[in-house]
Symmetry: C2
Amino acid sequence: MNAGRTARERARAELTEEIKTAAREQLATVGAEALSLRAISRELGMVSSALYRYFASRDELLTALIIDAYDALGEAAEAAASGGDPVDEWIAIYAAVRDWARANPQEYALIYGSPISGYQAPQTTVQPASRVPLLLLGLLQRAQASGRLVTPPEAPAPSGVLAQQTEVLVALAPDVPPAVLVRTVIVWTQLFGMLSFELFGQLVGTMDPADEFFASASRQMAAFVGLS
Amino acid sequence: MNAGRTARERARAELTEEIKTAAREQLATVGAEALSLRAISRELGMVSSALYRYFASRDELLTALIIDAYDALGEAAEAAASGGDPVDEWIAIYAAVRDWARANPQEYALIYGSPISGYQAPQTTVQPASRVPLLLLGLLQRAQASGRLVTPPEAPAPSGVLAQQTEVLVALAPDVPPAVLVRTVIVWTQLFGMLSFELFGQLVGTMDPADEFFASASRQMAAFVGLS
DNA sequence: ACAGAACCGAGAGCAGTGCTCTTGACAGTG
DNA sequence: CACTGTCAAGAGCACTGCTCTCGGTTCTGT
């Protein structure tokens, strides 16, 4: 790195990173909606207006943080993908996603919580956002190839609009039967619903702490999609 | 109604309701985090400081809105509980929850989205918040009594901490086997994960519009907990 | 019936916010 | 050297939640 030519460009790249770091610190303490450009600038010893040389608006800073968060989560999940036993790998990915979410609750809320009002996520975010689902699809595709994926007999084959919608997923994991693909979306939503409930305090009083519950759910969801 | 004694008390109750109505309108247009007391007061033709006679703080107003939202959702779900065929009723409840969420996305985000930074939900919210899960538990309890609930053979009986945590739920639905109770929490998280993904735009590009997917998931989750 | 207490809305004011615009200094390039 | 583009700074605008004080109204106990 630091292949930037001029001193100006290098300084600019460094300061951009410093701003994001300070923003992430603020994110962790006060949350996304209370993220203040002035507070960031104060921490960096500069004046608030100077930040606008680096990020055109608060929203643009948020977009950068969102993309970084998706990438960090994707990286954590991918690092847990051993390529070994499909069920073990599935559970390892689940655990990695949960660990990341618990370690970075505000960044998790930023990407999987309620959308920030007035903020429209640009198209740039969809690629980083799809890293985790793609990882799970890839796992299923490989499991199918090695005969470790059995289509549950009670899983109904999608028809109508649903069949049409699964086409997108079929293109990504052609060997995985459509019924399993629908179930993959179900467990995908389950995973993040479970995490949101845990992090946002919806489980307090019942399944909190959720370690055991999460472990049980991981296993049962692996079985639900047909992994064995 | 209007059994309030003095004119002052009646006026106060009415104005409190008007404030909440105006707040809900604002909620629907600009979202929870941009909810502004000054804007509400402007709409009501009064001065911002006057609102503090009715709600001690913005947080207190939010708490009132949160409780109202939980109650509205609970009421919608309970209205859909026919008491007839368990599977039909299960699916009807799911549909009612989704309909309410789609009709009131900002109120949904208020209760199931990321927590508002600096805001601590008081104990008062947990009773209204538990109406939907209690409804599902009651349904399962009745289904068990009428022999329409079969414990899925592959469902592992909880042990350790998990068994201990299910005690709370066993107290509410004593006839439902613990393995099914754990699965109930799984589908509970799945339901709201699915709704959050649909409302927060995470499904765009795949399962959106989610009508068919939602219908399929409702049915599969009913089967997953053992309803037949 | 009337005094005192309780309640009410209005207004000014504080400290904070995102964002814009202008100004003057500096670095990189011809 | 001169020019061009970039930079941080500062003032300012319109907004926020919240506090306090000020008079006026309404209720309540005697």
